[in-house]
Amino acid sequence: MWGAFAPKNLESITGNIKSYISIHFGWWYLLIVSVFVVFCLYMIFSPYGKIKLGKPGSKPDYSYSTWFAMLFSAGMGIGLVFYGAAAPINQFMKTPPTAEPGSTAALNDAMRITFFHYGVHAWGIYAIVALVLAYFKFRHDAPGLISATLKPIFGDKMDGPWGKLIDVIAVFATIVGVATTLGFGAAQINGGFTYLAGIEKQFWIQLVIIVIVTVLYMISAYSGLSKGIRYLSNANMWLAIALFGIMIVIGPTLYIVNSFVDTLGAYVEKITARKLTHFT
């Protein structure tokens, strides 16, 4: 409410808190994302890896292809279309860490940083939250709430105000995250209209886009998870494959393949060397 009616005031206060955290606790974020990746790798190779996120003998709800399509649509989705070209080129031309903008060194850095930001560290964060929730929910019949996953440490205290607080933070994060996603989506569709038809960025156009999308996703939500999201996720994959297929054929194919191999090599080398400070 405050944010809606006095945006400038709230923006400067929250902006200050944000920059304080990013200046003084940047190391903490880098540390925990690295620890999460190491923990995930440990779990993959340890005997715990055999434990099922469900009752013994249960089968997965979705086929591999549908599962990957759903993971991908939920985890990256619009962000990938929005930043597919923008993230590398911004790193290359505007904000390379050390190299001269536009130079070959800047190009290598740009792709390497992009890989770092969209790679296993990003997915490791999602994987941790999802793994812990799925384990307690499907194996121990706990409610699917963040607070419920902390019961082995805090016991029944999680049924009280502290547990509520944690769940409220999760709901808040979801609402703001979704508002951001919807904002990105509306801006990107509007950007498409601007480019294709010369229609300028305007609030009412974005509003119309949001209203149309709302009607569509309500229909999808109404049809349930196994119909709506499943069909949509598969549609996303086919559209993404079509777009990628055209681009890789008519685009600079060799240049792309070479860069992919080089960057992937550098990426694997860096993350296994644990020199994370080389990335930021």
Binding site: T14, I17, C40, L53, F82, A85, I128, P143, Y217, M247
Partner: protein, 186 residues
């Protein structure tokens, strides 16, 4: 740092959804699937569109001057079939958009009905309307930036909760494993 905070900020939303669709997978299958496959796909995607853009930029196109929402369309414009690619991209943004909003409705419904796996349709309906209304109001007032800052700040306590979640999981798994060894159920 900003990037990590963003992924953490999105993690309750995305994590709850991923958890819901992963029932019945083993931990090994789950982690390899969530960590490796989407990362590789992201890499291929970013290299393809990123290098196409960078090549044209180097050849003299002024792509870096475009605002981010127009960048991709600007890149397409440098190639043949640009209209076709733009139309597919618009459709893709549309379906991604609908998928995200739909899964968010589901996650919010789940979080506010004590973690139910099939939240009632009217709960989802209410959240659906609410989240679009919130997004529209924030776009209108420009309040989105303030809330995003607040969200980034909230990732700090949430990152501590995440560390506790990992510890809690580890604790429960050890107990689970001891029970398994006793009963040999699997």
């Amino acid at each position: 740092m900003f990037f990590w905070a963003w992924w953490i900020a999105w993690s309750p939303f995305v994590g709850i959804f991923i958890a819901r669709v992963s029932k019945g997978r083993t931990i090994r299958e789950f982690l390899s699937g969530v960590l490796l496959v989407p990362s590789i796909v992201s890499f291929i995607w970013m290299t393809t569109f990123g290098m196409a853009a960078i090549e044209k930029q180097k050849a003299g196109a002024k792509l870096a001057e475009l605002p981010d929402p127009q960048m991709l369309f600007g890149v397409f414009d440098q190639f043949p079939l640009s209209l076709l690619m733009s139309i597919i991209a618009m459709m893709l943004i549309g379906t991604f958009f609908i998928t995200s909003a739909d899964s968010a409705t589901f996650v919010l419904g789940m979080q506010t009905t004590y973690g139910s796996l099939e939240p009632a349709k009217r709960v989802k309906f209410a959240w659906g309307i609410a989240q679009s209304a919130i997004a529209a109001v924030l776009l209108y007032t420009g309040g989105l930036q303030a809330l995003q800052n607040a969200l980034i700040s909230a990732t700090f306590p949430f990152s501590i909760i995440m560390v506790l979640m990992v510890y809690s999981l580890y604790k429960a798994l050890r107990k689970d494993k001891m029970e398994l060894e006793v009963s040999k159920e699997e």
